[in-house]
Symmetry: C2
Amino acid sequence: MSQPNTPIRIAINGYGNLGRAVELAVHNSPDMELVAIFTRRDPATLDTQFAPAVAIDEAEKYVDLVDVCVLCGGSATDLDEQTPEFTRLFNTVDSFDTHAKIPSHFATVDAVARETGHVSVISSGWDPGLFSLNRLMGESVLPAGKTYTFWGRGVSQGHSDAIRRIDGVAGAVQYTVPVEEAKNRVLAGETPELSTREKHRRECFVVAENGADLDRIRQEIVTMENYFSDYDTTVTFISADELSQNHAGMPHGGSVIRTGETSAGVTQVYSFDLVLDSNPEFTGAMITATARAVTRMVAAGQTGAYTVFDIPPAYYSPKSGEDLRAELL
Amino acid sequence: MSQPNTPIRIAINGYGNLGRAVELAVHNSPDMELVAIFTRRDPATLDTQFAPAVAIDEAEKYVDLVDVCVLCGGSATDLDEQTPEFTRLFNTVDSFDTHAKIPSHFATVDAVARETGHVSVISSGWDPGLFSLNRLMGESVLPAGKTYTFWGRGVSQGHSDAIRRIDGVAGAVQYTVPVEEAKNRVLAGETPELSTREKHRRECFVVAENGADLDRIRQEIVTMENYFSDYDTTVTFISADELSQNHAGMPHGGSVIRTGETSAGVTQVYSFDLVLDSNPEFTGAMITATARAVTRMVAAGQTGAYTVFDIPPAYYSPKSGEDLRAELL
């Protein structure tokens, strides 16, 4: 462990969008230093900015040089394996986001962390992460009420990928869009039952291959089960140039709203909202702050798997308790 | 301490608006029971709903019957004395909100709590409290940025009282109102420097005594230093009936907004918002959830003074860690 006033030593595993975002966030944190970026690829092919790329097989050599390893594997499947593996060697943070598999992932990582004396915080980021925190606080303070989560306007990689797999599609970006009327009803203190279709719309921007049947592509998209069939979906065909010029960003965001009554007719509306120019950069910033919290948990003698639900908020900040109370309370 | 599955035993000290709100919140929490409501007044004169009123001098007899005493003293002056006094006997929660005096209040309460082996969470509620949490999380995740707090639209008791002290005023309510243009600029990702006047307006509804000089009253209000002179203030004279019919509620709320960049030109906007029909009922609900957290801190072997910055969010909820991870993460 780092001593007070010595930098927190961070490693990153995986150098995709999220890995690059964490690299940036660590660089912007004066109390942290980036030691290494582990990769499955040939390290020589990685154009890292602030720390050397290191072959993943060498990670073991860094055990005494790293306080927390931030896991930026590209998919839930990666983290399924990587979080337990890396938690054998390091304290870790991940952003595991397959909601249904969180309990089993937690159990697996917890066993490894306890066995090896490490701390691992799983499923940090914004959802799961900050949104989860607000769902928890909202229902704890307003037990008689209803919680709503709206996502967007933002790019869904999973839905974009699903469109790209359709025959005749050369490129696609899908935006998840909250239905403003529904959101405004909830913000006004109503507690409606909302169907899937009433909460979100889906906007698809698609580049078709030359000569492809546009009506068939549109039809395949809007009827696709689990992805689009339960939503009002619009499909707009655009050129490859337009796709790369206007849809290359990864904006996202959303709202968690808890509407409740503290007594009959006394309505209280609690809401949390994110509007993000870059989903990966914000997720990277949150999991980097979580890495700081991990070092505080280690210093407090904790071991095992944890989530954002278990972390005293002060642990995310580089400031002392005295400064936090004087400046922010 | 209560055992798992036995109710958390709560006492309240002080039976004003906040005490009544906590009484309600405890009643609405199936994992809690209300044991007693301590009062400086003659207990026979209190019309309590869910627990007996007890003379404050008898509090000592309840030491073994109460897990947490929620302090609902009517002013910062009350809590200055009552929180240390009651923390000698009980684990406590207060909503101490004189920002400048928080560090010394914390130190006083911490010394008593450590000496007597109790936990005391000071300054819970929404501001300080949930707003503080969001100021902390916002700046921890987005270190390069700026935090704004807007209050209202809501009733300020302090400002209403200041108007009532003016000669010729029979009654008054003052609303603090955020300047929407300023708030919208911040929500759009700008980071303007805003003066006091640019952030909030003040709306005063005043009942004048018969024959009072309305222009003089208006002038005394808008020029009052520390309260109104730095704001755009409107004064509307109304009848006593109108005051009691339209201005008897205690609505409040506000927003904490953190606007930051994670890299050049990549703006991320984090915002938290409350719209409250009843300020005391919401504050009461939050400090009641905080009382639940206190029992978890006691069970974890902690002693001393704490704030919301120190509390793992799961502690506010009656749910188990497993249920929270499965349902809310």
